[in-house]
Subunit: 200 residues, 3 copies
């Protein structure tokens, strides 16, 4: 179940990357790389920083296949993207929740401090998008708009709070993911965002 959500999230991230790259008029190779990097960039950075190499996607071809599929779907449906916007947003939100959990878990397995685990969860969920934006020569979106990373950090704090209750691991993971997903949906619905500082 959790694994299925991981696959859905990966595909959604790949499609969002592909759509951004097509919008920037990149050639098919560029579109594929951006799709790939958006989908696995966060997890790759996490793996490199904790020394888990070869990094994840090199050891599990499933991710590669899913990304290739997402790439072709994005190309196929690029003109009816408006109609698919809601589904894609939902998938992307599932990815946000699941990827955060995967990063948290990986940090725990490496024996790191809870604050570092939360950083790894946020990185896994958000840095694919950061690398996508850097490659497309834009200031990363996650630093500027709607709360996105902040939800991952909050989700991480909830995770360590709930963990003290000695819940079953499956329940703990499911509940935390659902909380992250629910907050993201509300955040977009009610247009929550962080205000930039009034720097002189």
């Amino acid at each position: 179940m959790f694994h299925l959500l991981d696959i859905i999230g990966t595909m959604a991230f790949a499609m969002s990357g592909a759509l951004t790259a097509m919008h920037k008029k990149l050639d098919p190779f560029g579109v594929f790389i951006i799709a790939f990097v958006t989908a696995v960039g966060g997890g790759t950075l996490r793996d490199v920083l904790i020394g888990r190499t070869p990094v994840g996607w090199m050891r599990d071809m499933q991710y590669v296949y899913v990304i290739i599929l997402g790439f072709f779907l994005a190309i196929l449906f690029r003109k009816s993207f408006d109609k698919l916007r809601t589904s894609l947003f939902l998938f992307d939100t599932i990815g946000l929740g699941v990827f955060t959990l995967i990063g948290l878990e990986r940090g725990l397995l490496t024996g790191l401090h809870p604050a570092i685990c939360i950083a790894l969860g946020t990185m896994t969920a958000c840095f694919g998008g950061v690398i996508r934006d850097i490659l497309c020569n834009e200031i990363p979106n996650v630093f500027r708009e709607e709360i996105y990373a902040t939800i991952c950090i909050f989700g991480g704090i909830v995770f360590f709070g709930l963990r003290k209750l000695n819940l079953n691991d499956d329940v703990l993971y499911l509940v935390t993911s659902l909380i992250i997903i629910a907050i993201r949906l509300m955040a977009v619905k009610y247009k929550w965002h962080l205000k930039a500082f009034d720097h002189k």
Copy 2:
């Protein structure tokens, strides 16, 4: 022989990086760093992702010396660059072929799936240029113009095809590199390129 080609490719990449950086009006330190990163960036990223550390150029000073030489040559000949354009393009193409092979070989030695080996070959050949463009604040050229990375991917497929014929390793490497180099030359001569998607 193969090693000599590696040296030629490294120098060509360093020179191409230095010329780009001078064009962007960077100071000598910036020019040197961009030269360095263009020459070893792809291999460094590859080594980091597969966990081969300290990364290559830290263990073999020869690369450092070659890059320093390329840096000075680029400065010396910067005004007669137009006359040298053809030689530099040839060297760069040799680098493309050789670096792809080095990445493929490194992937095989790490025991990775052929598709991942091809990704590593392409990364070794192309990502130095990607990092160069990011540092110079441009959308990476490789995502936008003439087929370049696509040739590396094709070369990788040819490599695994030929490998089934049980050729001698030296022959296999030489033939694959030559195919990559030949296609690149034809691609530029006949202006082959990938078309961006007609995104609405």
Copy 3:
């Protein structure tokens, strides 16, 4: 003593990152990430390239706390920044000297060639700022203005020169840091800078 200077340098780098990010109108999460990356980015890149993982800041929470403190101080004092410019510049210069030494030491511990150790020292001191500038979508400052990285390289050469005199390690570190700090102060006072090449 040396450790205290490391802390001061980390905080100064975090504050300089936060101020740049506020200037770019990033949201609080973006400001925090840029502060973090500016402070630890150079050391993180160094650790990844030499294979020292999990990277430094994941193993010593002290850095995280110092960066959080620097982040809040930067927010608090953002409007009186002009008055603080001199102090911040001094702290930043201390960071430059200390971070160079930490990188040099790390290279020696890994058994690398002196030239590579100097590269690691320069990377530790300067690449946090490079990553900051890339994330803010600018050509890295260090490639374009006043001599900065050049001072680190020079400091590294002095370090290996003095090391031949068999000085006590503490003395060697202190003297090299002070030389780097002194040159930086003079470089800014007398407006030393590298000239870009007169590329046609």
